[in-house]
């Protein structure tokens, strides 16, 4: 190589070698060995492949280059790694060592240090590859999560912190009938109206520290509510909500999971309807058995026959008890048991339960003792019948399993720490102690389980369904307490249970005293003689028809029978009746519908009194009845005494009218009515006071003011209606005035109104005129009296 070339190459730090066709080094640049794998071996005469092993294998190429078949060959980026140093990279280029424009047998091998370039390339490639792999992983990860979210069977919605919907999955799209694009940006409350109240709940709960997992975001789980779809449909759903807290604000918000409850609701509804139907279908024939048995007992029977009939009755009653237990249990299980909250005397409730069971106890010569505790609050707000139910159950059990000795009932109470919005400020503990057979300790855990009794021989010996205790457990738990037992075999057991309740300071009139006792009035034909009524019985079940007819006959009534609502209407159109006994569940036209028609067709003045006969003990139904226009109801199965009581109320209209027809100079005012009965005003005050959110004084004053404002108008309208001979409106006005006056304690005025009403019905023109005058006069008294009272408050 000439000097110029050598210089140029040297300046550019390009090394070279010249080898012959046997790879032996003929010429080499000074620093080429630095670029070799084995610098020692790079010497003249040595095989170049020892120092440059990358040349092994390109023999064919080499001969092609020598023969001129190929121009050159390049190997770029060959790395050399020295132990302690960074690698160096070289580019190798092999060409024919052309001399004088002729191909020679020599190879020119040019070697360039390209470390800098390769190092750069390396970092570039490294970055690109890593980014690529990262992107892959992220994409796969995102896909994975997206798939999970999308394929969830439940609807999922993700919102921002402010509640705007960001994403929804496919199930949510189907449920809510929105495309993702349509719903994004809308507020979650457009879908879940009640959501905001629950969000507060989550915030309140804040961060929960758990020992295992550290701080976790709390969940609101399975809240039942409804959601709105695009087309405005309302779907019952259960929703769960949790907060998403990541560091990046864009990825924060809330996750909602909605579960469609329609099917569950339908199932629940079906179950409820089934329950209601069973309630009727089972109770009805049982009622017939008991009823018939009762009627039979009231007839002349031989001793033996009486025994037989008593057995039938007792079996029927036992059956009824079992059915009621099962229905109760089922209601509680499905969460459908409704609790009433009424103030009552605690001691009365306990004494009621005891008095019911005294006969049983006396039979077994057992003593029932109640340890009265003066420290226990007198009046509490709770469900008296359910509390009584638990007590009866436990005391009855105690009696059942005790042969000698006594049963003691005691009560204690303590104040509670109230949390949040709770109102129940006391915990009341009851203890029922007996000296009976006791319970073996290894059986105690089975006691409160459904359908189990201590052992099967108990069932044979003592009877029972095994539901009693579990119902007691459920009821006491629903009332905020718990139940447990301490027992020793052959010594006795003490059952404890607690409830939580609100203690009220108002003293109530002893309600239980006014409960009607077993009537000792004889049931015979004199009842009808004293109170003649035209009765229409609307009942589909033939046995019930027979039974009720017999009951009525026993009282001396002859009732007409209609098999359903339609027949009832037909009968009523033919002639008027005083009383309609209406069964509420009948084919063709049921009781409710029939009542509605009756109320529509006949005015209240001429309408018969409607008494519903219902097997339903459901609270809501009773409220519905009263709303419809039903005057009274009898719960099946009912006894003849109850029927009698209800019929006893059905004589006012006839009686009053007949009274008036008998004597022309009635002096209703001889009765001792006061102008204003203060007790009535006090009653209004008490009711308002009892209702927490109302200022009682204000309420009372308002009520008085309203009355004073409206009544003058009423009186004007009354006169107007009379002069127009509009008896229908007149009657309605007078009726309304009577009722409002009575409420305000204007009992004299109310009485006058009632008398006027009767006169209107009977269209006694002269008397009406006189009466209206009396009304107006009395009102003046009422007005001044009320103004006086008003000042006092």
């Amino acid at each position: 190589m000439n000097d110029l070339t050598k210089n140029i190459l040297s300046l550019r730090r390009i090394e070279y070698l010249i080898v012959n066709q046997h790879w032996k080094i003929i010429e080499l640049s000074p620093k080429v060995n630095l670029l070799a794998d084995n610098s020692q071996e790079v010497q003249l005469g040595k095989d170049i492949r020892i120092g440059f092993p990358e040349l092994i294998g390109i023999e064919v190429i080499a001969s092609d280059i020598i023969s001129g078949k190929q121009n050159n060959f390049e190997l770029k980026g060959v790395a050399r790694t020295k132990k302690s140093l960074n690698p160096i990279y070289i580019d190798i280029c092999i060409a024919n060592n052309i001399k004088d424009n002729q191909y020679s047998n020599e190879l020119l091998i040019v070697i360039e240090d390209v470390t800098e370039k390769m190092a750069l390339e390396q970092s570039l490639v490294q970055g690109a590859n890593e980014a690529n792999l990262l992107l892959r992983t992220l994409t796969a990860s995102k896909q994975y999560i997206d798939q999970i979210v999308t394929s969830m069977a439940d609807a999922l919605l993700v919102t921002t912190l402010s509640g705007k919907i960001k994403t929804i999955n496919r199930t949510a799209q189907i449920l809510l009938e929105y495309d993702e694009a349509e719903i994004c940006g809308q507020s979650i409350s457009s879908v879940l109206k009640e959501v905001d109240s629950w969000k507060e709940e989550i915030e309140l709960r804040g961060n929960v520290q758990t020992p295992l997992f550290g701080p976790i975001t709390p969940l609101v789980k399975e809240v039942e509510t409804v959601c709105q779809t695009k087309t405005g449909k309302t779907i019952p759903v259960a929703f769960s909500c949790s907060k998403v807290q990541t560091e990046i604000e864009h990825f924060q918000g809330y996750v909602y999971i909605l579960r469609d409850m329609t099917e569950r609701k339908q199932a629940e509804l079906a179950k409820q309807e089934f329950l209601a139907m069973i309630s009727h279908e089972i109770r009805t024939p049982v009622a017939a058995v008991i009823g018939m048995g009762d009627i039979l007992l009231n007839t002349d029977l031989s001793k033996q026959q009486e025994e037989f009939v008593e057995t039938i009755c007792n079996s029927g009653k036992a059956l009824l008890e079992i059915i009621n237990d099962i229905l109760d249990f089922s209601k509680i299980e499905s969460g459908k048991l409704e609790f009433e909250e009424e103030p009552f005397h605690l001691n009365s409730c306990i004494e009621e339960a005891l008095s019911l069971l005294i006969p049983k106890a006396t039979e077994k010569k057992l003593e029932l003792i109640f340890h009265n505790n003066s420290e226990v609050p007198q009046v509490i707000v709770s469900d008296i019948s359910r509390l009584r139910q638990i007590l009866i159950n436990l005391i009855s059990n105690a009696i059942k399993f005790t042969d000698t000795g006594n049963i003691e009932v005691s009560v204690t109470s303590r104040e509670r720490q109230m949390i949040g919005n709770e109102k129940d400020n006391h915990e009341i503990q009851f203890a029922i102690k007996d000296s009976g057979i006791g319970i073996p300790s290894n059986r105690i855990n089975r006691l409160f389980k459904a359908f189990t009794q201590v052992n099967s021989s108990i069932t044979r010996k003592y009877g029972g369904t095994g539901l009693g205790l579990v119902i007691c457990k459920q009821l006491s738990e629903l009332m905020g307490g718990k139940i447990w037992v301490e027992s020793e075999e052959n010594k006795g057991s003490t059952f404890y249970f607690t409830i939580t309740a609100r203690v009220v300071n108002t003293l109530l009139k002893q309600e239980w005293e006014t409960q009607p006792e077993e009537s000792h009035i004889s049931i015979d034909a004199t009842v009808a003689a004293k109170n003649p009524l035209k009765i229409l019985l609307v009942e589909d079940y033939p046995t019930n028809q027979k039974m009720i007819t017999l009951m009525l006959q026993q009282m001396g009534y002859q009732a007409d029978i209609a098999n359903n609502g339609l027949e009832a209407l037909t009968a009523l159109r033919r002639q008027s009746y005083d009383v309609v006994l209406m069964d509420m569940q009948m084919p063709e036209m049921d009781g409710m519908t029939a009542t509605r028609y009756i109320c529509q067709e006949w005015d209240i003045s001429v309408r018969p009194r409607i008494i519903a006969l219902t097997a339903s003990a459901i609270l809501k139904d009773k409220e519905d009845f009263l709303e419809l226009g039903i005057n009274d109801y009898l719960a099946k199965p009912f006894r003849i005494e109850q029927l009698m009581q209800v019929l006893a109320k059905c004589h006012i209209k006839q009686e009053e009218i007949s009274k008036i027809k008998q004597s022309t100079h009635t002096e209703p005012c001889s009765q001792n009515y006061s102008t204003i009965d203060t007790a009535a005003l006090q009653e209004i005050y008490r009711i308002a006071n009892f209702n927490g959110g109302v200022d009682a004084k204000e309420f009372l004053i308002e009520t008085i003011d309203d009355y004073l404002e409206e009544t003058p108008h009423f009186l004007e309208d009354i006169s107007a209606a009379f002069s127009e001979n509009n008896f229908k409106s007149l009657q309605l006005l007078v009726h309304t005035l009577a009722s409002s006056s009575a409420t305000l304690g204007a009992s004299k005025l109310a009485a006058l109104c009632t008398q006027l009403e009767i006169m209107v019905v009977s269209e006694m023109q002269e008397e009406i005129t006189e009466q209206i005058g009396k009304l107006e006069a009395e009102y003046k008294n009422v007005e001044s009296a009320l103004m006086e009272k008003r000042e006092k408050y």
Partner: protein, 174 residues
Amino acid sequence: MSTISKKICLIGDFGVGKTSLIRRFVDRQFSDKYLSTVGVKISRKSLEIIDSQAGKNLILQLLIWDIEGSTKFKGVSASYFQGAKGAIIVGDVTRPESLENISEHIQAFTKVNPQGKTVIALNKSDLIDAEYLEKYRHIYSFSDNKSFVSTYASSAKTGKNVDEIFQSLANSMI
């Protein structure tokens, strides 16, 4: 014993584990750290081969060419393949695209070396279930290909099948 030197190449997409396989085979070491190879790095390792024909043992020195991984933007320069008697085509079982490109790599190699032998390494097998490995082994067995020797599920991390790959390729090149 006589010694022969033969050149083999490791070919495959970027990041499939070519360098790691060599490191495991030559240095008996493994590192999780990813360092992209650029250009080519040549290592040497000697193996003992049983020459059934000659009835004796040979020592074969493998010249192992660790070639930079191919990417979307840059294929592998065919000059690297020149004079190689065998190749190990490597794919990453956790990246399906790298497996799909295996046949391409085989083609590129055999174009330069029609008589060359190929062994396929389905690498990173420690990351997936055994049931999938069998499936992949079946799919990526090119038994109709003249150059094809065998397919292995390998793991440079655990060392699984690494020696076997090089050994079987070496055996096939005799």
